[in-house]
Amino acid sequence: MDNVKKRAAELLKSEAVKVVIGYTMGTNGKPRAAFIQNAEDVDSLIFNAQCVQNLAVYLSKAEIKQLGKPAIVAPLNVLRAIIQLASEMQIQENELIVLGVSPDGELIDFQNFSAIEKYLEDFNMEVDAKEKETLEKISSMSLEERWKFWNEELAECFKCYACRAACPMCYCHKCAVEQNKPQWIPVAAHRLGNLEWHIMRAMHLAGRCVNCDACHEACPKGINLNFLTKLMLNDAQEEFGYTGVTLKEGNLLSTFKTNDQENFIQ
Protein backbone atom coordinates (compact mmCIF):
# COMPACT_ATOMS: atom_id res chain seq x y z
CA MET A 1 0.00 0.00 0.00
CA ASP A 2 2.96 2.30 0.58
CA ASN A 3 3.63 2.53 -3.12
CA VAL A 4 0.01 3.41 -3.73
CA LYS A 5 0.15 6.16 -1.17
CA LYS A 6 3.42 7.43 -2.59
CA ARG A 7 2.02 7.47 -6.06
CA ALA A 8 -1.16 9.16 -4.89
CA ALA A 9 0.83 11.87 -3.13
CA GLU A 10 2.93 12.46 -6.25
CA LEU A 11 -0.10 12.74 -8.45
CA LEU A 12 -1.74 15.22 -6.13
CA LYS A 13 1.42 17.24 -5.64
CA SER A 14 2.10 17.47 -9.34
CA GLU A 15 -1.56 18.29 -9.88
CA ALA A 16 -1.74 15.47 -12.37
CA VAL A 17 -4.97 14.69 -10.56
CA LYS A 18 -7.20 16.73 -8.31
CA VAL A 19 -8.55 13.90 -6.25
CA VAL A 20 -7.62 10.38 -5.33
CA ILE A 21 -10.55 8.07 -4.84
CA GLY A 22 -9.58 5.30 -2.47
CA TYR A 23 -10.50 3.43 0.66
CA THR A 24 -10.01 4.73 4.18
CA MET A 25 -11.04 3.43 7.59
CA GLY A 26 -14.61 4.43 8.33
CA THR A 27 -16.74 4.03 11.40
CA ASN A 28 -17.53 0.76 13.13
CA GLY A 29 -14.34 -0.75 11.75
CA LYS A 30 -15.63 -0.71 8.20
CA PRO A 31 -13.63 0.73 5.31
CA ARG A 32 -15.26 3.44 3.24
CA ALA A 33 -14.56 5.64 0.26
CA ALA A 34 -12.20 8.56 0.63
CA PHE A 35 -11.73 11.50 -1.69
CA ILE A 36 -8.28 12.76 -1.00
CA GLN A 37 -7.51 16.18 -2.37
CA ASN A 38 -4.31 16.98 -0.44
CA ALA A 39 -1.09 15.06 -0.68
CA GLU A 40 -0.72 15.22 3.13
CA ASP A 41 -3.82 13.13 3.56
CA VAL A 42 -2.70 10.10 1.58
CA ASP A 43 -1.67 8.25 4.73
CA SER A 44 -5.31 7.62 5.51
CA LEU A 45 -5.55 5.37 2.47
CA ILE A 46 -5.95 1.71 3.31
CA PHE A 47 -6.58 -1.49 1.46
CA ASN A 48 -7.74 -4.80 2.87
CA ALA A 49 -10.16 -7.60 2.18
CA GLN A 50 -13.02 -5.59 3.68
CA CYS A 51 -12.72 -3.00 0.93
CA VAL A 52 -15.66 -4.37 -1.02
CA GLN A 53 -17.45 -1.23 -2.12
CA ASN A 54 -16.88 -0.73 -5.84
CA LEU A 55 -15.31 2.71 -6.02
CA ALA A 56 -15.91 2.91 -9.77
CA VAL A 57 -19.44 3.97 -8.88
CA TYR A 58 -18.05 7.41 -8.04
CA LEU A 59 -16.58 7.90 -11.50
CA SER A 60 -20.07 8.53 -12.85
CA LYS A 61 -21.11 10.87 -10.03
CA ALA A 62 -21.42 14.49 -11.07
CA GLU A 63 -20.38 15.69 -7.61
CA ILE A 64 -17.12 13.76 -7.81
CA LYS A 65 -16.49 14.72 -11.43
CA GLN A 66 -16.67 18.34 -10.31
CA LEU A 67 -13.65 17.85 -8.09
CA GLY A 68 -11.46 17.50 -11.19
CA LYS A 69 -9.46 14.71 -12.73
CA PRO A 70 -9.36 11.69 -10.43
CA ALA A 71 -6.99 8.89 -9.72
CA ILE A 72 -8.70 5.80 -8.44
CA VAL A 73 -7.43 3.01 -6.22
CA ALA A 74 -8.50 0.01 -8.19
CA PRO A 75 -8.59 -3.57 -7.04
CA LEU A 76 -9.88 -6.20 -9.43
CA ASN A 77 -13.56 -5.27 -9.16
CA VAL A 78 -12.89 -1.63 -9.82
CA LEU A 79 -10.63 -2.46 -12.76
CA ARG A 80 -13.35 -4.54 -14.34
CA ALA A 81 -15.88 -1.80 -13.83
CA ILE A 82 -13.53 0.72 -15.41
CA ILE A 83 -13.15 -1.40 -18.52
CA GLN A 84 -16.86 -2.02 -18.79
CA LEU A 85 -17.58 1.68 -18.30
CA ALA A 86 -15.01 2.51 -20.97
CA SER A 87 -16.60 0.07 -23.41
CA GLU A 88 -19.89 1.84 -22.80
CA MET A 89 -18.33 5.25 -23.49
CA GLN A 90 -18.81 6.40 -19.92
CA ILE A 91 -15.16 7.15 -19.21
CA GLN A 92 -12.25 8.11 -21.39
CA GLU A 93 -8.71 6.98 -20.93
CA ASN A 94 -7.39 10.52 -20.49
CA GLU A 95 -9.97 11.38 -17.86
CA LEU A 96 -8.54 9.34 -15.02
CA ILE A 97 -5.47 7.65 -13.63
CA VAL A 98 -5.85 4.12 -12.43
CA LEU A 99 -3.87 3.03 -9.39
CA GLY A 100 -4.25 -0.70 -9.66
CA VAL A 101 -3.86 -2.65 -6.44
CA SER A 102 -3.12 -6.34 -6.19
CA PRO A 103 -5.05 -8.41 -3.66
CA ASP A 104 -2.19 -7.86 -1.20
CA GLY A 105 -2.24 -4.13 -1.70
CA GLU A 106 0.67 -3.66 -4.07
CA LEU A 107 0.56 -0.93 -6.68
CA ILE A 108 0.11 -2.08 -10.27
CA ASP A 109 0.91 0.51 -12.89
CA PHE A 110 -1.32 0.68 -15.92
CA GLN A 111 -0.23 2.80 -18.84
CA ASN A 112 -3.62 2.63 -20.48
CA PHE A 113 -6.91 0.80 -20.52
CA SER A 114 -5.58 -1.85 -22.85
CA ALA A 115 -3.04 -2.76 -20.20
CA ILE A 116 -5.88 -3.20 -17.71
CA GLU A 117 -7.77 -5.30 -20.19
CA LYS A 118 -4.72 -7.47 -20.64
CA TYR A 119 -4.18 -7.76 -16.89
CA LEU A 120 -7.79 -8.84 -16.42
CA GLU A 121 -7.34 -11.71 -18.84
CA ASP A 122 -5.48 -13.55 -16.09
CA PHE A 123 -8.45 -13.34 -13.75
CA ASN A 124 -11.35 -15.32 -14.99
CA MET A 125 -14.48 -13.40 -14.12
CA GLU A 126 -16.64 -16.27 -13.16
CA VAL A 127 -19.05 -17.29 -10.51
CA ASP A 128 -16.96 -19.13 -7.92
CA ALA A 129 -17.54 -22.74 -7.01
CA LYS A 130 -19.47 -22.03 -3.85
CA GLU A 131 -21.73 -19.56 -5.58
CA LYS A 132 -22.23 -21.97 -8.42
CA GLU A 133 -23.35 -24.49 -5.84
CA THR A 134 -25.94 -22.02 -4.60
CA LEU A 135 -27.09 -21.37 -8.15
CA GLU A 136 -27.44 -25.07 -8.68
CA LYS A 137 -29.21 -25.50 -5.39
CA ILE A 138 -31.81 -22.94 -6.39
CA SER A 139 -32.06 -24.33 -9.91
CA SER A 140 -32.64 -27.82 -8.61
CA MET A 141 -35.63 -26.76 -6.55
CA SER A 142 -39.03 -27.42 -8.04
CA LEU A 143 -40.67 -24.63 -9.97
CA GLU A 144 -43.00 -23.94 -7.05
CA GLU A 145 -40.14 -23.88 -4.58
CA ARG A 146 -38.17 -21.47 -6.70
CA TRP A 147 -41.17 -19.23 -7.04
CA LYS A 148 -41.70 -19.29 -3.28
CA PHE A 149 -38.02 -18.79 -2.58
CA TRP A 150 -37.75 -15.66 -4.70
CA ASN A 151 -41.08 -14.29 -3.62
CA GLU A 152 -39.97 -14.52 -0.01
CA GLU A 153 -36.57 -13.15 -0.79
CA LEU A 154 -37.93 -10.21 -2.74
CA ALA A 155 -40.71 -9.55 -0.24
CA GLU A 156 -37.98 -7.99 1.89
CA CYS A 157 -37.16 -5.38 -0.74
CA PHE A 158 -38.43 -1.90 0.05
CA LYS A 159 -36.93 -0.36 -3.08
CA CYS A 160 -34.34 1.89 -1.51
CA TYR A 161 -32.33 1.24 -4.68
CA ALA A 162 -29.11 0.82 -2.72
CA CYS A 163 -28.32 -2.06 -5.08
CA ARG A 164 -28.62 0.28 -8.03
CA ALA A 165 -26.79 3.12 -6.35
CA ALA A 166 -23.89 0.87 -5.38
CA CYS A 167 -23.58 -0.67 -8.84
CA PRO A 168 -20.92 0.90 -11.04
CA MET A 169 -22.87 -0.15 -14.12
CA CYS A 170 -26.10 1.52 -12.98
CA TYR A 171 -24.97 4.94 -14.11
CA CYS A 172 -28.13 5.90 -15.98
CA HIS A 173 -29.43 9.29 -14.94
CA LYS A 174 -32.98 8.11 -15.26
CA CYS A 175 -33.43 4.43 -14.61
CA ALA A 176 -36.06 2.52 -16.54
CA VAL A 177 -37.92 2.07 -13.27
CA GLU A 178 -38.32 5.84 -13.17
CA GLN A 179 -39.65 6.10 -16.69
CA ASN A 180 -43.36 6.68 -16.49
CA LYS A 181 -44.44 6.98 -20.11
CA PRO A 182 -45.34 4.23 -19.89
CA GLN A 183 -44.89 3.18 -16.29
CA TRP A 184 -43.13 -0.09 -17.05
CA ILE A 185 -42.55 -1.08 -13.47
CA PRO A 186 -44.82 -0.22 -10.57
CA VAL A 187 -43.04 2.27 -8.33
CA ALA A 188 -44.39 0.61 -5.22
CA ALA A 189 -42.40 -1.98 -3.32
CA HIS A 190 -45.19 -4.53 -3.49
CA ARG A 191 -44.75 -8.04 -4.84
CA LEU A 192 -45.21 -7.18 -8.49
CA GLY A 193 -43.18 -4.00 -8.25
CA ASN A 194 -40.34 -5.87 -6.60
CA LEU A 195 -40.46 -8.87 -8.90
CA GLU A 196 -40.42 -6.79 -12.05
CA TRP A 197 -37.74 -4.48 -10.73
CA HIS A 198 -35.39 -7.32 -9.93
CA ILE A 199 -36.04 -9.12 -13.23
CA MET A 200 -35.34 -5.93 -15.11
CA ARG A 201 -32.24 -5.15 -13.08
CA ALA A 202 -30.81 -8.59 -13.81
CA MET A 203 -31.64 -8.32 -17.51
CA HIS A 204 -30.09 -4.89 -17.78
CA LEU A 205 -26.93 -6.19 -16.19
CA ALA A 206 -26.75 -9.33 -18.30
CA GLY A 207 -23.39 -9.23 -20.01
CA ARG A 208 -22.50 -6.02 -18.18
CA CYS A 209 -22.31 -7.08 -14.54
CA VAL A 210 -18.72 -7.13 -13.27
CA ASN A 211 -19.58 -9.62 -10.53
CA CYS A 212 -18.36 -7.35 -7.72
CA ASP A 213 -21.28 -8.05 -5.36
CA ALA A 214 -21.50 -4.39 -4.44
CA CYS A 215 -25.26 -4.63 -4.86
CA HIS A 216 -25.52 -7.36 -2.29
CA GLU A 217 -23.14 -5.62 0.09
CA ALA A 218 -25.26 -2.50 -0.17
CA CYS A 219 -28.63 -4.14 0.40
CA PRO A 220 -29.84 -3.19 3.89
CA LYS A 221 -32.07 -6.23 3.86
CA GLY A 222 -29.36 -8.65 2.80
CA ILE A 223 -31.33 -9.88 -0.20
CA ASN A 224 -29.43 -12.31 -2.41
CA LEU A 225 -30.17 -10.25 -5.46
CA ASN A 226 -26.62 -10.74 -6.71
CA PHE A 227 -27.51 -14.32 -7.52
CA LEU A 228 -29.76 -13.10 -10.28
CA THR A 229 -26.90 -11.29 -11.93
CA LYS A 230 -24.61 -14.21 -11.20
CA LEU A 231 -27.01 -16.47 -13.03
CA MET A 232 -26.88 -14.12 -15.99
CA LEU A 233 -23.09 -14.16 -15.89
CA ASN A 234 -23.02 -17.91 -15.65
CA ASP A 235 -25.45 -18.23 -18.56
CA ALA A 236 -23.47 -15.78 -20.62
CA GLN A 237 -20.40 -17.92 -20.15
CA GLU A 238 -22.13 -21.20 -20.77
CA GLU A 239 -24.38 -20.17 -23.63
CA PHE A 240 -22.28 -17.63 -25.46
CA GLY A 241 -18.73 -18.21 -24.30
CA TYR A 242 -18.64 -14.82 -22.61
CA THR A 243 -15.24 -14.36 -21.03
CA GLY A 244 -15.56 -11.12 -19.16
CA VAL A 245 -15.18 -7.43 -19.67
CA THR A 246 -13.42 -6.11 -22.75
CA LEU A 247 -12.90 -2.74 -24.36
CA LYS A 248 -14.65 -3.99 -27.44
CA GLU A 249 -17.69 -1.96 -28.29
CA GLY A 250 -21.02 -3.62 -27.89
CA ASN A 251 -21.84 -6.24 -25.35
CA LEU A 252 -23.31 -9.65 -24.97
CA LEU A 253 -26.85 -8.59 -25.82
CA SER A 254 -26.05 -6.00 -28.46
CA THR A 255 -24.18 -8.58 -30.48
CA PHE A 256 -25.03 -12.11 -31.60
CA LYS A 257 -23.81 -15.11 -33.43
CA THR A 258 -25.91 -16.64 -36.17
CA ASN A 259 -25.44 -20.04 -34.56
CA ASP A 260 -26.52 -19.10 -31.04
CA GLN A 261 -28.34 -22.04 -29.51
CA GLU A 262 -32.09 -22.11 -29.86
CA ASN A 263 -33.30 -25.53 -28.78
CA PHE A 264 -36.31 -23.95 -27.10
CA ILE A 265 -37.58 -22.28 -30.26
CA GLN A 266 -40.13 -24.19 -32.25
Binding site: L143, N151, L192, L195, A206, F256, D260, I265, Q266
Partner: protein, 149 residues
Protein backbone atom coordinates in the same frame (compact mmCIF):
# COMPACT_ATOMS: atom_id res chain seq x y z
CA UNK B 1 -68.53 -25.16 -14.78
CA UNK B 2 -66.87 -24.06 -17.96
CA UNK B 3 -63.61 -25.57 -18.94
CA UNK B 4 -60.67 -23.28 -18.39
CA UNK B 5 -59.99 -21.25 -21.52
CA UNK B 6 -56.43 -19.99 -21.51
CA UNK B 7 -55.73 -16.43 -22.47
CA UNK B 8 -52.87 -16.38 -24.89
CA UNK B 9 -51.19 -13.33 -26.30
CA UNK B 10 -48.90 -13.54 -29.29
CA UNK B 11 -46.13 -11.06 -29.94
CA UNK B 12 -45.21 -11.42 -33.58
CA UNK B 13 -43.16 -9.61 -36.16
CA UNK B 14 -44.90 -7.89 -39.01
CA UNK B 15 -42.95 -9.45 -41.83
CA UNK B 16 -42.94 -13.15 -41.18
CA UNK B 17 -45.28 -14.38 -38.50
CA UNK B 18 -47.95 -11.72 -38.91
CA UNK B 19 -47.92 -12.43 -42.64
CA UNK B 20 -47.85 -16.15 -41.90
CA UNK B 21 -50.92 -15.75 -39.71
CA UNK B 22 -52.52 -13.81 -42.55
CA UNK B 23 -51.82 -16.80 -44.76
CA UNK B 24 -53.44 -19.09 -42.18
CA UNK B 25 -56.50 -16.96 -42.64
CA UNK B 26 -56.29 -16.86 -46.40
CA UNK B 27 -55.93 -20.65 -46.36
CA UNK B 28 -58.90 -20.92 -43.99
CA UNK B 29 -57.01 -23.12 -41.56
CA UNK B 30 -58.86 -23.12 -38.25
CA UNK B 31 -57.26 -22.64 -34.87
CA UNK B 32 -58.25 -21.90 -31.30
CA UNK B 33 -59.76 -18.50 -30.55
CA UNK B 34 -57.70 -18.05 -27.41
CA UNK B 35 -54.86 -16.18 -29.03
CA UNK B 36 -54.67 -12.45 -29.62
CA UNK B 37 -51.94 -11.16 -31.84
CA UNK B 38 -49.96 -8.03 -31.14
CA UNK B 39 -48.06 -6.80 -34.17
CA UNK B 40 -44.48 -5.57 -33.85
CA UNK B 41 -42.17 -4.50 -36.62
CA UNK B 42 -39.64 -7.15 -35.62
CA UNK B 43 -38.93 -9.64 -32.86
CA UNK B 44 -35.98 -7.42 -32.06
CA UNK B 45 -38.51 -4.79 -30.99
CA UNK B 46 -40.22 -7.02 -28.44
CA UNK B 47 -39.32 -5.72 -25.02
CA UNK B 48 -39.00 -8.46 -22.44
CA UNK B 49 -40.94 -6.27 -20.03
CA UNK B 50 -44.00 -6.68 -22.25
CA UNK B 51 -44.01 -10.39 -21.51
CA UNK B 52 -44.15 -9.67 -17.81
CA UNK B 53 -46.89 -7.12 -18.43
CA UNK B 54 -48.88 -9.70 -20.33
CA UNK B 55 -48.64 -12.16 -17.45
CA UNK B 56 -49.61 -9.51 -14.94
CA UNK B 57 -52.57 -8.56 -17.11
CA UNK B 58 -53.89 -12.07 -16.95
CA UNK B 59 -52.26 -13.89 -19.86
CA UNK B 60 -51.89 -17.59 -19.13
CA UNK B 61 -49.53 -18.13 -22.02
CA UNK B 62 -47.47 -16.16 -24.49
CA UNK B 63 -46.37 -16.89 -28.02
CA UNK B 64 -43.40 -15.06 -29.43
CA UNK B 65 -42.74 -15.54 -33.07
CA UNK B 66 -40.80 -14.04 -35.90
CA UNK B 67 -38.74 -14.72 -38.97
CA UNK B 68 -36.51 -17.74 -39.15
CA UNK B 69 -32.81 -17.09 -38.53
CA UNK B 70 -31.28 -15.40 -41.59
CA UNK B 71 -34.74 -14.40 -42.82
CA UNK B 72 -35.22 -11.30 -40.71
CA UNK B 73 -36.60 -8.46 -42.77
CA UNK B 74 -34.16 -6.28 -40.87
CA UNK B 75 -31.32 -8.79 -41.19
CA UNK B 76 -30.62 -9.41 -37.54
CA UNK B 77 -33.46 -8.34 -35.28
CA UNK B 78 -34.36 -11.95 -34.63
CA UNK B 79 -30.76 -12.81 -33.74
CA UNK B 80 -30.72 -10.07 -31.13
CA UNK B 81 -34.08 -11.22 -29.89
CA UNK B 82 -32.91 -14.80 -29.66
CA UNK B 83 -29.96 -13.89 -27.39
CA UNK B 84 -32.24 -11.87 -25.21
CA UNK B 85 -34.70 -14.75 -24.99
CA UNK B 86 -31.99 -17.19 -23.95
CA UNK B 87 -31.06 -14.98 -21.02
CA UNK B 88 -34.59 -13.93 -20.16
CA UNK B 89 -35.93 -17.44 -20.26
CA UNK B 90 -33.20 -18.70 -18.01
CA UNK B 91 -33.77 -15.87 -15.55
CA UNK B 92 -37.51 -16.46 -15.42
CA UNK B 93 -37.01 -20.16 -14.94
CA UNK B 94 -34.52 -19.53 -12.15
CA UNK B 95 -37.06 -17.30 -10.43
CA UNK B 96 -39.77 -19.91 -10.63
CA UNK B 97 -41.72 -18.37 -13.48
CA UNK B 98 -43.16 -21.09 -15.65
CA UNK B 99 -41.38 -20.81 -19.00
CA UNK B 100 -43.50 -23.60 -20.41
CA UNK B 101 -46.06 -20.86 -20.78
CA UNK B 102 -43.90 -18.98 -23.24
CA UNK B 103 -43.71 -20.52 -26.67
CA UNK B 104 -40.93 -19.15 -28.84
CA UNK B 105 -41.16 -19.94 -32.51
CA UNK B 106 -40.10 -19.02 -36.00
CA UNK B 107 -43.00 -18.83 -38.42
CA UNK B 108 -42.36 -17.52 -41.89
CA UNK B 109 -44.80 -15.75 -44.15
CA UNK B 110 -45.24 -19.03 -45.99
CA UNK B 111 -46.00 -21.10 -42.91
CA UNK B 112 -49.67 -20.51 -42.41
CA UNK B 113 -50.23 -24.09 -41.33
CA UNK B 114 -47.37 -23.95 -38.86
CA UNK B 115 -48.88 -20.88 -37.25
CA UNK B 116 -52.14 -22.73 -36.65
CA UNK B 117 -50.19 -25.63 -35.17
CA UNK B 118 -48.21 -23.36 -32.86
CA UNK B 119 -51.37 -21.70 -31.60
CA UNK B 120 -53.21 -24.95 -31.07
CA UNK B 121 -50.34 -26.69 -29.36
CA UNK B 122 -49.68 -23.69 -27.11
CA UNK B 123 -53.34 -23.50 -26.16
CA UNK B 124 -53.27 -27.20 -25.30
CA UNK B 125 -50.07 -26.92 -23.27
CA UNK B 126 -51.38 -23.96 -21.32
CA UNK B 127 -54.78 -25.58 -20.87
CA UNK B 128 -53.05 -28.48 -19.18
CA UNK B 129 -50.96 -26.16 -17.02
CA UNK B 130 -54.09 -24.31 -15.94
CA UNK B 131 -54.54 -20.62 -15.21
CA UNK B 132 -51.35 -18.80 -14.30
CA UNK B 133 -52.74 -17.84 -10.95
CA UNK B 134 -49.32 -17.77 -9.27
CA UNK B 135 -48.30 -14.78 -11.30
CA UNK B 136 -51.74 -13.25 -11.39
CA UNK B 137 -51.88 -13.32 -7.60
CA UNK B 138 -48.69 -11.34 -7.44
CA UNK B 139 -50.25 -8.85 -9.80
CA UNK B 140 -53.52 -8.85 -7.92
CA UNK B 141 -52.28 -6.45 -5.26
CA UNK B 142 -54.88 -3.94 -6.30
CA UNK B 143 -57.83 -6.12 -5.62
CA UNK B 144 -56.63 -7.22 -2.23
CA UNK B 145 -55.28 -5.31 0.69
CA UNK B 146 -51.75 -4.15 0.16
CA UNK B 147 -49.53 -6.05 2.52
CA UNK B 148 -47.89 -4.01 5.23
CA UNK B 149 -44.14 -3.78 4.97
Amino acid sequence: MNEFEPKIVAFVCNWCTYAGADLTGTSRIKYATNVKIVRFPCTGRIDFMLLLKAFSEGADGIIISGCHPNDCHYTSGNFHARRRWVMFRSLLDFMGIDVRRIQFSWVSAAEGAKWAEIVNSTVETVRELGPYSDYQKVADFLKTEVENG
